[in-house]
């Protein structure tokens, strides 16, 4: 939800005007804020939790925390960017309280190497332009595979590759070092690659 908003020359002024009304406690301004941003924010929440009720709870928590924080918001970023981060934080907070799901072992999905640095076995991969990857049932399975990653890896993958936060911002949100973000992202992608490979191999 970063750069797809239409660019209008009066957009910064409109934002500033909306912010003034929000900070003055104008009911109509809050309704505008919610109607404008809720669809994208709910889509974000749904990416973090599978359960629809839970996603809706996250949306509500996010807006309540935004309402509480509106007086301190200084307009240094776009309102939508600010809300994006708030809903991601609300989702992560919820995930931290949750029981562990069934998770794969990331280490077991990374390629092995021989002493001399060669690959111990050739990864099977899948054909270029594999038609199966366009099919809805395969895509639904891939969504399920992402959910099998351990939460600490899945969160990094979602923040970096899907929500498109920078390494620095993801590190800040997750309260880990940028180095840890980089390492976990690389391992998460490799693990997901191997899971997709297994999934496609099972189909044939």
């Amino acid at each position: 939800m970063s750069s797809d908003a239409p660019v209008r020359s009066d957009a910064p002024n409109a934002e500033a005007a909306l912010l003034v009304r929000l900070q003055a406690g104008d009911d109509a301004a809050f309704e505008e804020l919610v109607r404008e941003n809720a669809p994208r924010m709910l889509a974000v929440a749904r990416r973090f939790v599978a359960d629809e009720n839970e996603a809706q709870d996250i949306l509500q928590e996010a807006f309540l925390s935004a309402f509480r924080g509106i007086q301190r918001f200084e307009g240094g970023s776009k309102i939508s960017t600010w809300l994006h981060r708030i809903v991601v934080n609300a989702a992560l907070m919820r995930l931290r309280k949750k029981k562990r799901r069934r998770e794969v072992q990331v280490d077991e999905l990374l390629p092995g190497f021989l002493e001399d640095g060669h690959l111990a076995s050739i990864p099977k991969g899948w054909p270029a332009a594999d038609q199966r990857l366009e099919q809805e049932d395969t895509r639904a399975k891939i969504r399920g595979l992402i959910d099998e990653l351990p939460e600490s890896y899945r969160s990094v993958l979602l923040l970096r590759d899907i929500e498109e936060f920078s390494t620095q911002d993801a590190a800040h949100i997750l309260e880990i070092t940028p180095g840890a973000v980089k390492t976990r992202l690389h391992r998460a992608r490799q693990a997901l690659r191997a899971l997709i490979e297994q999934e496609l191999a099972n189909e044939t």
């Binding site: 009911d27 809050f30 309704e31 919610v34 109607r35 809720a38 669809p39 994208r40 709910l42 889509a43 990416r47 809706q56 949306l59 509500q60 807006f63 309540l64 309402f67 509480r68 390629p111 190497f113 001399d116 640095g117 060669h118 690959l119 050739i122 990864p123 991969g125 899948w126 270029a128 990857l133 809805e136 895509r139 639904a140 891939i142 969504r143 992402i146 993958l157 979602l158 590759d161 899907i162 980089k182 992202l185 690389h186 992608r189 490799q190 997901l192 690659r193 997709i196 490979e197």
Partner: protein, 84 residues
Amino acid sequence: MGKAKLTCREFVEFLDDYVADEQSGDVRATFEKHIAKCPPCADYVRTYQETIELGKCVCRDGEGAPGDVPEQLIDAILQARRSQ
């Protein structure tokens, strides 16, 4: 990593910098040389990149149509603000 020859282990370890295009020109050239000579790594980098793209697409399938947020939820949120 300034040396000309790269092992598959090193290739895979620093693959993320390669796909993000965050390497200096000579390091990148070393990676490209490895890809040209090593089919398994060439295949690995392709499927790694496809994995990133697939992750993006499948997570965004059917995303956020405006009518998607139930009206009661919007009301509940606005109601909760007034009683905050």
